[in-house]
Amino acid sequence: MKLKAIFLILLISYGAVVVPFTDYLRNRPVAVKLGYTPDARILKIASADHCSLVAQLAIVKVLFYYGTIVEKFTKKIDLPVEHHNMFKTVNTALKLDPYNMDAYYFTQAAFTWEVGRVREVNAVLDYGMKYRTWDYYLPFFAGFNSAYFLKDYRKAAQYMKNAAELSGDPLFTKLAARYFYESGQNQLGILFLETMRKGSKDKKIQSMYEIREKALKAVSLLEDAVVRFERERKCRPSDLSELVAANILTEIPVDPYGGKFYLAEDGKVRTTSKFAFGGKEK
C-alpha cells in the first residue's frame, strides 16, 4: 500500500515536471553550429576502408547545417553563416571521396552566389573532372561560373563544349553560343538556376534556388524597365521609383533576401542585401 502511494506520488510528480521540461526543450535557443572536422589525412587513416561513408557523413552534416540556415532565413531569422568552415568540410570530404557528387553540387550551390568564391569553386570542379570523367554536370557548372561570374567566355565555351561531348546533348553548346553572346547575364542566370532547381531533390536546396531565381527575375524586370524608361524618355531614371511614376512598373518588386533594390552609379540594378543569406556578406 505504501509502495503504491509512493509510486502514485512519483507519477504525479512526473506529470508536473514533464510539461515545463518539454516546453523548455521546445523553446530553448538552438545553437546552429557546423562544428570541427578533422584533417583529411587523419580521417583517412581513422576511417580505414570507410572513407566514402565518412565523406558522405561530412556532406550530410554540412547539408543539415546549411538547410537550417536557409530555414531560419525563410522565417526572417538572420544567422551568421560559417562559409569558411563549410568549404573546408566539403574539401575534406572530397579528399576522402573525390567522386562524391553531393559535394560538387553543394559547392556550386553555396559558394558562388553567396560568397563569390568562384575561382575556388572552379578549382574544386576541375579537381572533380579528373575523377568523374563521365559527368557532364561538372563542366556545365564550371562553364556557367566562367561565363556568368568571371566573364571568361573563351574558357566557358571550352567547358560547355566538354559538357556537350559528355552528355551528347547539344543544349550546352547552344547555351554557350546563344546566351553568352546574345542574351543578358540575368537570363543566363535564371536558366541555370531553373536547371539546378529541377535537378535537386533536397527541399531546402530547392528553396534556396527559388529565392535566388526570384531575386534574379526581379532584377531582370527592373533592368528591362530601366531600358524602356531610357528609350521613352531619352534619359536615365535617377531612382527606381521613377519607373513606377512613369507607369512602366506598377510597383518595385520585393527583394526576397530582405534588402532594397536601388539603381547604382554604373547603371546596374543592385540591392542592399547583396543577395546573401545571413546579412551583408559577399
Partner: protein, 267 residues
C-alpha cells in the same frame, strides 16, 4: 581429415551460439532495413549512398566478427581448459589451430553471403527511389563484398596468430585492431613518403617505414568500394594479385600460429 572436419564443425557451431555474434548480426540485419531511408539523406547520389551504406555495414560487421572471434577463440579454449582435454585426444596442435581458423573463415563467408543477399535488395529499393545517372554495377558490388570477405579472413588470421602467442584476450584484440588500421593506411603512407615529404626524411627512417610496409598486411588493396559505388572499371588484374597475396600471407600467418601454439605450454 575427419578430425579436422569435426573440429571445424564444432568451432563453427560454437560461434553461431555466441550471443555477442548473434547480437551483432541482428543489428546489421536491422540496419539493412533502414538503408532505403538513410540513403535519402543524399542530394544527388541516393543509389551511391545506398551502396556505400551497405558495403560499410558488411565491412564493419565482418571487422567485429573477425577480431572478436580471432582474438578470443584460442584464448577462451585455453582459459576454459578445453585445450587440455581436447589435445589429450589424438588431435595435433596444428589441426586444432587450423580448424579454429577454418571455423572462423567459414563463419565469415556465411556472414558475407547472408549480408550480401540482404544488401542487394536494399540497394535495388534505394536506387528505384531516385535513379542515378550511373547504372548499378552488380558484379562490381559482389566483387567488392567478396574482397572484403577475404580481407577479414586475413585479419582473423592475424588475430588468431596474436592469440596463440598471448595469454590474455586484450593483446590479440587491440593488437589486431591496431594492425588493421596500420595495414589500411600503410599504402597511403608509403605513397606519401615517395613524394616531396619523403625528401625530408633520413634514409634510415625511410628504410624502417619500408620494412614496416612489407611486414604489415596491406588491407587497402582489398578495398574495391569506390569501383562498386561509382561503377568504375573493376580491376581484375589487381584483384587477382590481391587474391594471391591473401593466400600467401594467410598461409604464412597460419604456419606461424601453428609454430607458436606447438611451442606453448598449456595449463
Amino acid at each position: 581429415m575427419a578430425t579436422f572436419v569435426n573440429l571445424l564443425s564444432a568451432n563453427f557451431r560454437s560461434i553461431l551460439r555466441d550471443r555477442i555474434f548473434l547480437a551483432i548480426l541482428i543489428v546489421a540485419l536491422l540496419f539493412f532495413l533502414l538503408v532505403p531511408s538513410f540513403s535519402l539523406f543524399s542530394m544527388r547520389q541516393v543509389q551511391e549512398l545506398a551502396v556505400t551504406l551497405c558495403l560499410s555495414t558488411i565491412s564493419l560487421l565482418l571487422l567485429l566478427v573477425s577480431v572478436l572471434q580471432g582474438a578470443s577463440s584460442v584464448w577462451r579454449d585455453v582459459e576454459k581448459r578445453y585445450t587440455s582435454s581436447l589435445l589429450g585426444l589424438p588431435v595435433s596442435r596444428a589441426t586444432f589451430v587450423v580448424a579454429k581458423f577454418a571455423g572462423i573463415a567459414v563463419t565469415l563467408v556465411c556472414c558475407t553471403m547472408l549480408l550480401g543477399a540482404l544488401a542487394l535488395p536494399a540497394i535495388s529499393i534505394s536506387a528505384a527511389q531516385y535513379p542515378s545517372d550511373i547504372p548499378i554495377h552488380w558484379m562490381n558490388i559482389i566483387g567488392a563484398i567478396g574482397m572484403d570477405c577475404l580481407k577479414y579472413i586475413l585479419l582473423s588470421a592475424v588475430a588468431l596468430f596474436l592469440s596463440t602467442v598471448s595469454t590474455s584476450f586484450f593483446f590479440p584484440f587491440f593488437g589486431s585492431v591496431a594492425i588493421f588500421f596500420a595495414g589500411s593506411a600503410s599504402q597511403e603512407v608509403i605513397e606519401y613518403i615517395s613524394g616531396d615529404y619523403g625528401k625530408s626524411l633520413t634514409p634510415a627512417a625511410k628504410l624502417v617505414i619500408n620494412i614496416v610496409y612489407y611486414l604489415l598486411p596491406n588491407f587497402s588493396a582489398f578495398n574495391l568500394k569506390v569501383a562498386a559505388i561509382y561503377g568504375l572499371p573493376f580491376p581484375f588484374k589487381g584483384a587477382l594479385y590481391t587474391f594471391l597475396y591473401f593466400i600467401v600471407y594467410t598461409s604464412i600467418l597460419l604456419c606461424l600460429s601453428v609454430w607458436s601454439f606447438t611451442r606453448r605450454e598449456l595449463p
